[in-house]
Symmetry: C2
Subunit: 318 residues, 2 copies
């Protein structure tokens, strides 16, 4: 069935044709987009080479297993080392297993953790993990931090781009860098005190980027698979999208570090590296979309509109 | 129950306290924010006056009735007069009744219309409505068009703000204005030809603002109630989020113009006017959030992060 009247492509057939066509096309250099014919994202990805991709590191990957399926989270130790370490410690204690998703606020966040966290008598105990941590709202902008700058400015930050696979911002004047609240980013909820978060209560952005949260809360990773499982959860009807009744909460089967999961049960994924010419070409393919459907080329892109490419690693056949 | 460790407020109690407190607070003038103590959005809305609000006009309001409930759409005749007229004509022909939502693409759009639109033998017939219309991607920037400008710039447009209740952009150089693709905005799907849309296939933005669609497709309104019904629909697994099987589609009971619905069955809502001092104060309350939870004030706001305030009109008791 060919489906007219949808966006942004006029037919599925055309997209498939693009993938097939690219095999016969010369690979153009992303560094000189003026000299190259414009390429679609599909073409850019089809021309990628294995070194453009990084397999998820099982030591910095979380699996959030729900009855609905698995959510895969890529952690960001370069930006939130203490929170990443604490979430891993919590996961290894089984802290989250049997807890629940207790909040889903439309166009904002889905959040999970211990619903009894505020009740010292009832809350789940911790062994090695910490109940609170110093904030990691930003970090030093050091020369070793990769940063693929986007060319079109930003409403909230002096400079935005992608760093170590995550959307980020930086301020040369203050010498700081931080992750940005884009769709799918995962953060550590906190109370009013800046150092009251720990990673025991986690949220994920499910709507338009709430960029006013940047530098107000520690971001520690990003969902790379399974966002649709979280984004489609029924919205809570209590204030701030909390579920009113305990039975509305969505049970967490387990939250585990991927390296603790038997290899046969892992979800092998790789993510496009953000420090490659292919990523730069992908950005350009989204700034000016050559697909026939587009009549007005934006010529611009905003940090949270850069798609991140994720693909399954084909299992090796024995 | 007090819930710690969530964002952006530390407790429901505090939010309620703010609403109650405001009755005793002097009303400050939004025009001079420097002289006024900073106010939260809750305080700004509590201090609003009846003239700050506009009841939805039943002649430019659509009800999309699903088994899940009702979605209310505020139409934008100032920006898309021909498309608004055609969608109303389609609704009045009963064109949409019994058709379905056939696409849900995560972090992008939910779309509905006739799944057989491309098949001349099977597609639903039209009587008065038109199958295609000239594009209304933008309009003339005339002096009579209200425009509450936002002060912090934009990645995609020279100028953004709110006009007639909708997020919008303008370009003084070209003398054009257009609606922007923010969460909840409703547009008319089209094929590759710019004038191939008609409003017979409608989509709503359910994720981060796809601003690259601005000026590429006709936006004609915005969902003001019921977004959570659309945003939580299961995502389609075919290309571009189409549902693979007909039985996965979500039936449309009816799509009606509110004025055609008996008064007793209408959903009486009013929306904060965007040409008022209260709206300007609301914007300021979101640029710099005075709530204790915030440690770093953004000092900026982007057009799609301005919340739109909608409230029920209390029915008059007989």
């Amino acid at each position: 069935m060919i489906r007219q009247r949808f966006l942004p492509f006029s037919s599925r057939r055309r997209a498939i044709a693009a993938v097939c066509l690219v095999a016969a096309m010369p690979i153009v250099r992303a560094e000189d987009p003026k000299a190259a014919p414009p390429r679609t994202m599909v073409e850019v990805l089809a021309a990628s080479v294995p070194s453009d991709w990084r397999p998820l590191d099982p030591e910095t990957t979380l699996y959030l297993d729900l009855a609905l399926g698995r959510v895969v989270i890529d952690l960001a130790p370069s930006f939130a080392p203490a929170h990443v370490a604490n979430v891993k410690a919590l996961a290894r204690e089984g802290f989250f297993d049997g807890l629940s998703i207790h909040r889903a606020q439309d166009n904002y966040v889905v959040q999970w953790g211990d619903p009894d966290a505020d009740d010292a008598d009832k809350r789940r105990s911790m062994r090695q993990a910490k109940r609170s941590l110093p904030a990691e709202f930003d970090r030093a902008l050091t020369p070793d931090l990769p940063f693929t700058r986007l060319p079109d400015g930003d409403v909230y930050a002096p400079d935005t781009g992608w760093s170590t696979g995550f959307p980020a911002a930086r301020d040369g004047k203050s010498g700081r860098a931080w992750l940005t609240h884009c769709y799918g980013m995962v953060g550590a909820g906190r109370d009013n005190a800046a150092d009251s978060g720990s990673g025991a209560d986690l949220y994920v952005v499910i709507g338009h980027a709430p960029r006013h949260l940047d530098r107000n809360v520690t971001l520690l990773g990003r969902v790379v698979q399974g966002m649709e499982l979280l984004a489609t959860l029924p919205r809570g009807t209590a204030a701030l999208g909390f579920y009113e009744k305990a039975e509305q909460r969505v049970p967490i089967h387990a939250l585990r570090v991927a390296s603790d999961v038997p290899v046969s049960e892992r979800t092998p994924l790789e993510v496009l590296r953000t420090d490659t010419a292919t990523f730069a070409a992908l950005v350009e393919s989204r700034r000016n979309r050559p697909e026939e459907w587009f009549k007005h080329l934006a010529g611009r892109i905003e940090v949270c509109n850069v798609p991140i490419a994720v693909r399954a690693i084909a299992p090796i056949q024995p």
